[in-house]
Amino acid sequence: MPLQTQLPTWTAIAPTVLLGLTALVLLLVDSVDPDSTRPTALAAVSVGGSVATLAVAGWYLLAGTGQVGGAIRLYGGSLVIDGLSLFFTVIVASVVAMVSLASHDYLQDRTYQAEFYSLVLLAATGMSLMASAGSLATVFVSLELASLPSYALVAFLKKNRGSVEAGLKYFLVGAVSSGVLVFGISLVYAVTGSLLLSDVATAIGDAGDFVGVAGIGVVMIAGGFAFKTASVPFHFWAPEAYEGAPAPISAFLSSASKAAGFAVAFRVFAVAFPLDAVVPMGIDWPLLFAVLAVVTMTLGNFAAATQENVKRMLAYSSVGHAGYALIGLAALSGGGPNGDVMGASMAHLLVYGFMNTGAFLFIAMVERWGLGRTFEDYNGLATRAPVACLAMTVFMFSLAGLPPFGGFLSKYALFYGAIQGGFWWLAAVGAINSALSLFYYSRVVRAMWIEDPVDGDGVDLGATPLGLYVAVLIAAVGTLALLPAFGPVVETAQSAATALFA
């Protein structure tokens, strides 16, 4: 018997509430003692809150809350707690914990630290809500709750032109895509007369003359999610925003924000637009996502291969990985087990959460050392910081999908799921892109380990940023630990995804 049956049902939302409370506690700490800056206390509260969230969400996930005996519905079905929402809350909370730990060093001697942490936690609250949204109204509100703090965080270095430019571009594209999303929602409401995902599912089959309106609505909602996940056609903010933003924020956005975007897309499309009802009407959304997946991964990988700036390369690789994860929405309706490929995509996002956060945090460390941003500036770094470079090597090979790392298994499960669903060509395009990605990931590794440093070694890197080091190592350990632990992870994800289609 699940342990949570002894708790009241509202406690199912506890992980999300914990994230929000942590944000408020941070503001409280700051307002009690505004003059003295206490970076360690703020970072500790932030890390503590996110680790507590991670613990509660992980405990619920293991104990079967919302999985054994059906999903838990709160507020008339507007919030749904099930395996999917808990799984993505785990991803978001782990990324926030690593990012907060790293920010302690990154923010040294900067002002507005409490605001920084509380904005991160507020955005994380929104992302966790996105994963539990059970109605299109909650989808929009939680998506905005995740987006608005993110705009401010990208433009956080307000005297830095790059950061401001990045924040502006992120905001402009975000504002347009939220307009597109809400117009799509209004069209779906026009056709179905409801915003609850389960009611939309039953009503959309009777669209009648309004089938065209429903189709436009579905496409526009997909466009709104494409912004959050940094997929084509709303991907072009990603390279600018990730390059200009403070590196811990790039890590946060490219891992947690992308995962939350996929969480909400998985739930809305699987629940509200059921395949057997809308595909015969001509609203073939898996086909749309198949096209987007191919274009997104090809564009992301080819653009990444031509970059000279490591941070920008990682930004384009993040677009490419959005393309891989889109396979989870594309390789459906082929008669195969739909939950398996979507679950594999969820597991890939978890592994990606660790390896990509780690890679961006390594960049944060390099920025902290005051080294340059191009591949040449990384030459010979391994002789000066061998442990960190070893961790970066793990991230790079794992992102490329080489065998002894977590990224290999998650990509394998994803492509295998696509083949099972009858979409061998999606798997083939993914595999070709993975092979191409090895080229630019290994450039980083070659620069760090093989090339000789340009200015001779012996340049002092300064004091060791302890928090950043620990965060990078945690990410590396996570990437490696997900290799033996991948079996249970992917099973949890697949049963959570299967429950959506039931």
């Binding site: 299109l136 109204a137 929009f140 509100v141 905005e144 608005l148 705009y151 401010a152 433009a155 307000k158 005297k159 032109r161 790059g162 401001v164 430019e165 990045a166 924040g167 502006l168 571009k169 905001f171 402009l172 504002a175 347009v176 939220s178 307009g179 597109v180 809400v182 117009f183 929602i185 209004s186 069209l187 409401y189 026009a190 007369g193 409801s194 915003l195 309106v213 600018e240 390059e243 200009g244």
Partner: protein, 100 residues
């Protein structure tokens, strides 16, 4: 009683005006106004179909949309302010230092 399809046309027209403004204007404030038009086009749909279906879900969500639009403008104005301080203008095409 105006047929409900006309509201769809009106909303689509307002949405397209907003989209046109976004694609053609480079002033950040005009950009924000165009986004407002897009969001309010959705509100027209929501309110019209709320009356058509006879439930208040759409009207309530319309209120949510207005509140969020206001929040979005608040953050947007903040970003436009730092844009002005760094580039001495609110022209969104000026900020392209990263494109090579």
């Amino acid at each position: 009683m105006v047929p409900v399809e006309w509201y769809l046309l009106l909303a689509a027209a307002v949405f397209c005006i907003g989209l046109f403004g976004i694609l053609t204007r480079s002033n950040a404030l005009l950009f924000l106004m165009s986004v407002e038009l897009m969001l309010n086009a959705a509100n027209i749909n929501l309110v019209a179909f709320s009356a058509y279906w006879g439930n208040v879900t759409g009207q309530t969500f319309g209120l949510f949309t207005m509140a969020l639009a206001a929040a979005e403008v608040a953050v947007g104005i903040g970003i436009i302010l730092v844009l002005y301080r760094n580039f001495d203008d609110v022209d969104v095409t000026l900020a392209k230092g990263m494109r090579r």
